[in-house]
């Protein structure tokens, strides 16, 4: 089945499946692409960017270029995506050829043999022109299990008018500066709580925590031997810092119940001067239909601290080929098509491209110069959340620990220490 995989040299543009067929035949492999009509089933998620319409349009272009391949699309909410993939693959249905993978899943899915190792199919141009952080999101132990597709991280959004009213001409470059500005904004009565976060008991909180930990001593969670490192160093410092901003009244206390959309709503309603959020907020907060602060929205790379200029949590997603797929060649070709530079450039105003050269192309960056400038800096230092096969269980436990510390039930060190003590159980 996979013989044609290793045999096929990585092609630059894989729309010509006929060539693949010839190669596969030459290899004597079992797969026979383009011998007849092929139907792929692809699982994506419902989101702001790329939207269902965008994905449908990209897919249509793929079908036009490969007339023998039909792609059926299915979209589910992010919350359902992981479970949908696991139950479909392990349950034996095996309905999907490609699935969308969050950057935190390749380890788990590779170990469970749900997705294929596609290292040999990733073209050389990926290594040269894609941000290394985007590549990392599809990898586990040096092998590719997904073609990186969406490159995303959390940027610092700020309200230009509020900063100006408090006498600041520049956005903060460090977290200390941010707190000083927030203090001034609060003291001047411009807004009650200057900073808003997504710190509810969810993955969103882990993302903010990771991003902060990376500049506060390093986002070092679990070492190679499987020992807990998250109850000390950067992660502990970051959590204590988070709690302190709540205690000081600089962070909105409602943050501990907020998800990303609540952050966007609060910021768009003029209820915060600063917010950490994904790229998608930029367009929406600047849309006068949905936002009271349209036109005042600034975005910069996430602040640094103590010599580290910036850091971002790796919130990328990739397209993986399932083990159950009967048409892996077409599935890989489809994934590469979706991630190709022309496709990403076409929709660059909706979702930031992962191709470095796109950032040098004025025709592309002019759609949102501020955002591209911020991304060009922050994409150089994206950090992964723990890359472990037991990530989902670990994240659930850490989410509770963050909540315990942020709501004052336990001191940060104790809350994280309790999870560290339970780690062997989680790893089992």
């Amino acid at each position: 089945m996979t013989t044609s995989f290793t045999c096929r040299p990585p092609g630059r543009r894989l729309s010509a499946l006929v060539a693949a067929a010839v190669l596969a035949a030459a290899c004597g492999g079992g797969a026979s692409p383009s011998a007849g009509p092929v139907t792929l089933n692809a699982l994506f998620m419902k989101q702001a960017a790329y939207s269902e319409d965008n994905v449908t349009e990209m897919t249509k272009a793929f079908e036009d270029a490969n007339p023998n391949v039909t792609v059926n699309l299915e979209f589910v909410a992010y919350d359902a995506l992981h479970d949908k993939i696991v139950t479909d693959q392990v349950g034996g249905a095996g309905s999907y050829d490609t699935v969308l993978l969050d950057a935190i899943w390749p380890a788990e899915f590779a170990k469970a043999k749900i997705v294929r190792d596609i290292t040999a199919n990733v073209p050389a141009e990926y290594k040269n022109d894609v941000f290394p952080s985007a590549l990392a999101g599809g990898q586990y132990q040096g092998k590719f299990y997904a073609v990186p597709w969406i490159n995303d991280t959390k940027f610092l959004f700020y309200n230009k008018q509020m900063l100006a009213a408090a006498g600041f001409s520049d956005p903060p470059a460090t977290w200390d500066e941010l707190l000083a500005q927030a203090r001034a904004i609060k003291d001047k009565g411009i807004v009650d709580y200057p900073i808003v976060w997504s710190w509810s008991q969810a993955e969103a909180a882990i993302c903010d925590w990771t991003q902060l930990a990376a500049v506060m001593g390093g986002a070092d969670f679990v070492d190679d031997a499987g020992n807990a490192r998250f109850a000390q160093g950067g992660p502990l410092a970051a959590l204590e810092w988070m709690k302190k901003t709540l205690d000081d009244g600089l962070s909105n206390p409602a943050s501990t119940g907020f998800l990303e959309e609540d952050v966007r709503n609060t910021f768009s309603a003029g209820g915060a001067a600063f917010a950490l959020n994904w790229t998608y907020m930029y367009n929406l907060a600047n849309d006068p239909q949905q936002s009271k602060v349209a036109g005042q929205v600034g975005v910069v790379a996430s602040p640094g601290m103590g010599g580290v200029q910036t850091s971002g949590v790796n919130g990328g997603m990739g397209i993986a080929v399932t083990s159950s797929s009967k048409h892996p060649d077409e599935a890989v070709a489809y994934a590469l098509w979706m991630a190709s530079k022309p496709m990403q450039d076409k929709f660059a105003q909706l979702s930031l491209p992962m191709w470095k050269s796109s950032f040098q192309d004025a025709a592309i960056t002019k759609t949102a110069p501020e955002l591209f400038a911020a991304a060009n800096v922050e994409f150089t230092n994206l950090v992964m959340r723990p890359v472990v096969p037991y990530y989902t269980a670990l994240s659930s436990a850490l989410q509770v620990a963050l909540q315990e510390a942020l709501t004052g039930k336990k001191p940060a060190a104790q809350a994280l220490g309790d999870v560290a003590a339970k780690l062997p159980e989680i790893q089992k």
């Binding site: 696991v86 008991q201 907020f258």
Partner: protein
């Protein structure tokens, strides 16, 4: 017509064949029940005795009662049980008291009684999901109606984080459940109230009993069987509560609203530990059966007296 009579005549002499026909009619339903009830039960029991982690396909060793033993020794499990009990006791007690009160009100010869009765049933007619979403909005810290109401009434001086504060989250969930389920109690109690003959109440009045003693010594004892049935229904439902909490708080903040059903769900579907999830399912079922057994004995005693 003639054909049917002939068919009846052919069937009648042989009682055996009648049993066959009955069997044939029952079989499809029995098969369906077997498929959707019996199979999952057996399968879950099998899962609970094996180590089955979905993300580790292929290895499913038999581990006996180890999953059960692990949970019974797990403080997280008992914390979740404790939260389920708090939810159950508080919500059931409030629903019973408010439900009886409402029923007594609706039983009075008021002018717009029909309107009152239709209004009261409304919360119960709402799907749980809608109810939960609605309360999540009402309780929202930034733009919720509850904060606005309390602030304008001068009860609080700043917006409160109802759902993200560990001290209040469980109460907000209980409030939402009480708002939805009190009508059910009220309607059932109202039906029972209308079954009580006016003569008995009038006799008590003639004997000099005031409204309070009439309620305490005449009405309440006659309501007891209904109240017990309501109690049984509500405790069992409340003990396995899932949807309203899942939508309002997701089990948070800091697991403060993580009841036993949420805990079981998270074990089975977050960690994909189906073995332990199935064991938890059986433990919950056992707890509810225990409750049912206690209530059935109580009901039997009431029925006999």
């Amino acid at each position: 017509m003639a054909g049917l009579t002939a068919a009846r005549r052919r069937l009648r002499p042989a009682a055996v064949s009648e049993a066959w026909v009955a069997g044939a009619f029952v079989t499809p339903a029995a098969l369906v029940i077997l498929l959707v009830v019996a199979y999952p039960l057996v399968r879950a029991l099998w899962l609970s005795l094996h180590e089955v982690v979905l993300t580790r396909p292929g290895e499913e060793p038999f581990i006996g009662l180890a999953s059960y033993a692990h949970e019974l020794a797990n403080p997280d499990f008992w914390a979740a049980v404790g939260r389920s009990l708090s939810f159950t006791i508080a919500s059931t007690a409030l629903e019973l008291v408010l439900g009886v009160g409402l029923a007594l009100l609706m039983d009075q010869p008021l002018r717009f009684r029909w309107l009152l009765r239709s209004l009261v049933i409304l919360p119960w007619a709402l799907p749980t999901i809608v109810n939960a979403l609605m309360w999540r909005w009402i309780d929202n810290a930034e733009y919720g109606a509850l904060n606005a109401l309390l602030l304008q009434a001068g009860i609080i001086d700043s917006y409160q984080q109802w759902l993200s504060n560990p001290a209040t989250a469980m109460w907000m969930v209980i409030l939402a459940d009480v708002w939805k389920m009190t009508p059910l109690v009220a309607i059932l109690v109202l039906a029972a109230l209308q079954g009580i003959s006016r003569e008995q109440i009038e006799a008590a009045r003639v004997d000099g009993a005031g409204p309070v003693s009439t309620f305490r010594y005449v009405v309440l004892p006659l309501l007891t069987p209904t109240l017990l049935i309501v109690l049984v229904l509500r405790t069992m439902e409340a003990f396995k509560v899932f949807d309203i909490i899942w939508i309002m708080t997701n089990g948070g903040p800091a697991n403060e609203t993580q009841t036993i059903a949420i805990y079981a769900y998270q074990t089975a579907y977050r960690a994909f530990d189906f073995g332990r999830g199935a064991a938890l399912g059986y433990l919950i079922a056992l707890a509810i059966m225990l409750l049912a057994a206690i209530y059935l004995r109580l009901l039997g005693r009431v029925g006999r007296s």
